[in-house]
Amino acid sequence: MSTVNPAEHVSAHPAEILAPAAWGGLSFQERMATAEFRIHHQAHIVVDGSVCEGCSTRECIVACPANLFVPTSDGGLVFNHEQCFECGTCYLVCNKEGAISWNYPEGGHGVVFRRT
């Protein structure tokens, strides 16, 4: 399970400039709670944080629409697979070979859209 609360670290983003009202009064966690995720215990995307230590751009942190990439205090990167939209943005913007190994979750798991 995730040990990092997305709502807590979101304010750490340098891009965090909008007032809470701009979010419609919703925390990021509440925003993500509107989508259904059938979580599989095994992570379908694995991030090798040690590769990320040498990355200066870290575009995944900003680009992931589910905000799943969390910088750690020691310069690494933690990825939470639970609320993943399975979109593919992270592996496309990643410029470090071998940092992200990307797969779809086991059939029947992952995001289940309803009103999209």
Partner: protein
């Protein structure tokens, strides 16, 4: 099916399986009318896995049973793909009392030696079908089980008690066992098994006339009412204290007694009755 003499007769539609898994088709709380989101609960998935493991060990077959709408056939096909031998669908529309569901299952599989059920279903069920079912089948019951150890032809089931304690139940057939979710991980159906199961036979057993759908069972959840005597006290504060058990009233209850098991059980029952829980 019960004859007029009250003797249980072998149902001519009954199946040979010794092991039965009961699967409840529940709708998604967020999408109550959408079959795409309906399915069985994690507890039922565990029950099916236990049934498959046990049947393999006993060298017998598994019958998966569901009481529900036509769409519920989908979970029976998945059960078949996972390794169940037979599937029985008792078609009903709408909600039913647990007792009637148990009637319907007992009719469909009257000779079951082992019946596996999930504990509470996703739709805030009461978990009472297994108990009714055990009564109907004249079987032992082991309900709310969190772990199973196979032992000879029977098993030892672990049950949760208050305060982190556990109790072990020796269970022998015929028995109804209900398990909590995540106690077993249902195996993933194979691809060719899934393809075959799509065309496999699902037997339909219509419930007897008595087991009709009940319209009035969906009610708001309310804890059982407790009858309380009028509070005694001179001031409103005292009466409030008496009503809410705060302060001294609680302390007075903390009896520590040493009794023989039978006497202890009687004392506990008396205390629960006195406090209004029974």
């Amino acid at each position: 099916m019960v004859s007029s003499s009250g003797v249980r007769e072998r149902h001519d539609m009954s199946l040979p399986s010794d092991v039965v898994a009961c699967l409840k088709w529940v709708s998604h709380p967020g999408e109550p009318h959408d079959e795409r989101f309906a399915g069985i609960s994690p507890a039922d998935r565990s029950a099916l896995e236990f049934a498959l493991v046990q049947a393999a060990a006993l060298g017998t077959t598994v019958t998966a049973v569901t009481v529900g709408p036509p769409a519920a056939e989908k979970v029976l096909r998945e059960a078949l793909a996972c390794g169940a031998t037979h599937a029985v669908h008792v078609p009903v529309h709408g909600a039913m009392h647990s007792a009637h569901v148990a009637d319907a299952i007992a009719e469909a599989v009257p000779d079951a030696r082992w019946v596996w059920c999930g504990d509470y279903s996703l739709d805030r069920g009461t978990g009472s079908v297994p108990a009714f079912l055990a009564a109907r089948l004249g079987a032992q019951q082991a309900l709310g089980i969190i772990a199973v150890h196979w032992q000879g032809d029977g098993l030892v089931a672990t049950r949760r008690l208050d305060g982190g304690r556990r109790e072990l139940l020796g269970v022998s057939p015929p028995a109804v066992v209900s398990v909590e979710g995540a106690t077993a991980h249902l195996r993933r159906a194979g691809l060719s098994a899934l393809r075959t199961a799509a065309h496999a036979e699902v037997r339909t057993v219509h419930p007897a006339a008595t087991a009709h759908a009940d319209d009035a069972v969906v009610r708001a959840y309310r804890p059982r009412a407790r009858a309380l005597a009028a509070p005694v006290g001179d001031t409103p504060l005292d009466r409030l204290r008496a009503l809410t058990d705060s302060g001294a009233a609680v302390a007075a209850r903390g009896d520590t007694v040493t009794l023989e098991p039978a006497a202890a059980a009687a004392r506990i029952a008396a205390a629960l009755h006195e406090w209004g829980y029974l």
